[in-house]
């Protein structure tokens, strides 16, 4: 094989496209022909650039970047809520929460009133004491208290 024949087959040799016979010939030629060897080495080095270019460092934010592009292109609406709940569902959920809150409030309130009215499990003495401390001034109007304040003070020795 002449140098020119080898040159014309170098890329196919590099790519493993040749038949065994040709492979052996070229291998032998490259072993003793420095000129062809240099060309082959250069070709191989250039070829390896492709491997370097293919090496990837994965970008963990790719999905977010694509989503941002979709949103800015108007293809995809910005996420409705923190977990993308449809608007109608969100409105319904808020209304339901308000109703539930009102209902809970009424229920708790009525229970409190009920406790005061019917202190069934309260010891009668305790109940009496509670009534006394809480409501000892119940019959006295604020006007009456202010009008008679001096009297009280006098009574207390002022």
């Amino acid at each position: 094989m002449k140098c020119i024949d080898v040159e014309n087959k170098l890329i196919f040799y590099l790519e493993g496209d040749l038949k065994t016979q040709d492979n052996i010939f070229i291998e032998k030629h490259l072993d003793h022909c420095g000129k062809c060897r240099k060309l082959f080495d250069a070709l191989q080095a250039t070829w390896s650039v492709m491997d370097d270019e293919k090496a990837m460092t994965p970008d963990p934010f790719v999905y977010n970047r694509i989503m941002a592009r979709l949103e800015s292109s108007g293809m995809k609406k910005k996420k409705a809520g923190p977990i993308g709940i449809p608007r109608l569902v969100r409105v319904a959920a808020i209304v339901l929460l308000l109703v539930l809150a009102g209902f809970t409030g009424t229920l708790l309130g009525s229970k409190y009133v009920q406790n005061n009215l019917l202190p069934e499990d309260l010891d009668p003495y305790e109940y009496y004491a509670q009534e006394f401390y809480l409501d000892s001034y119940a019959d006295e109007s604020i006007e009456y208290y202010i009008l008679n304040q001096n009297e009280y003070e006098d009574e207390n020795g002022k």
Binding site: E7, N8, L10, I11, F12, E15, D17, K35, K38, L39, A42, L43, A45, T46, W47, V49, M50, D52, E53, K54, M56, P58, D59, V62, Y63, R65, I66, R69, L70, S73, M75, K76, G84
Partner: protein
Amino acid sequence: MIESDLVKRLQKGEEEAFRELVGDVYHEVVKIATGFLHNRADAEDIAQDVMVEVYRSIRKFRGDASLTTWIYRIAVNKSLNAIRKTKRQNLHADVIEISDKAVEHNPNQETQTENEERAKVLHKALDALPKNQRMAFVLAKYEDMSYQQIAAVMETSLSSIESLMHRAKKNLQKKLLNYYKKNVY
């Protein structure tokens, strides 16, 4: 992935399915675009564009080709469009050609690393390939696709791809060896 399931979920607008798809094909698309554009930033830009296009058009996907074949076809088209755009922009700029006589040994280039120099030479040789040879070559070498898969993406026969690949390699060899003979020895 079980493709038909994924397609159904994508067509229903399932976001998790799209996330899976991005995980599966994004880097492959970047590799293809790199083969055409020779620049990672541009390739990423194209790849993200491709994924947006896939999201936009998935309802039109009828399954005549496989999902990845369809996506890679979009990647090739978008890459070629981007090249066309930059070519138009550089129409009046000085373009250094690698032809048999145009490349003189430039002493300034000696400061560049050998790898950068090699990359430059390879890119110019690739850019000089006829469009179809270039498409076949990029899909084979940058995406490691089989000739059968390339034939599907390019909608042609296996034997056409074999012929395109043979001619692409021959053309590249000619350009590269001419360059080495003039500049290295």
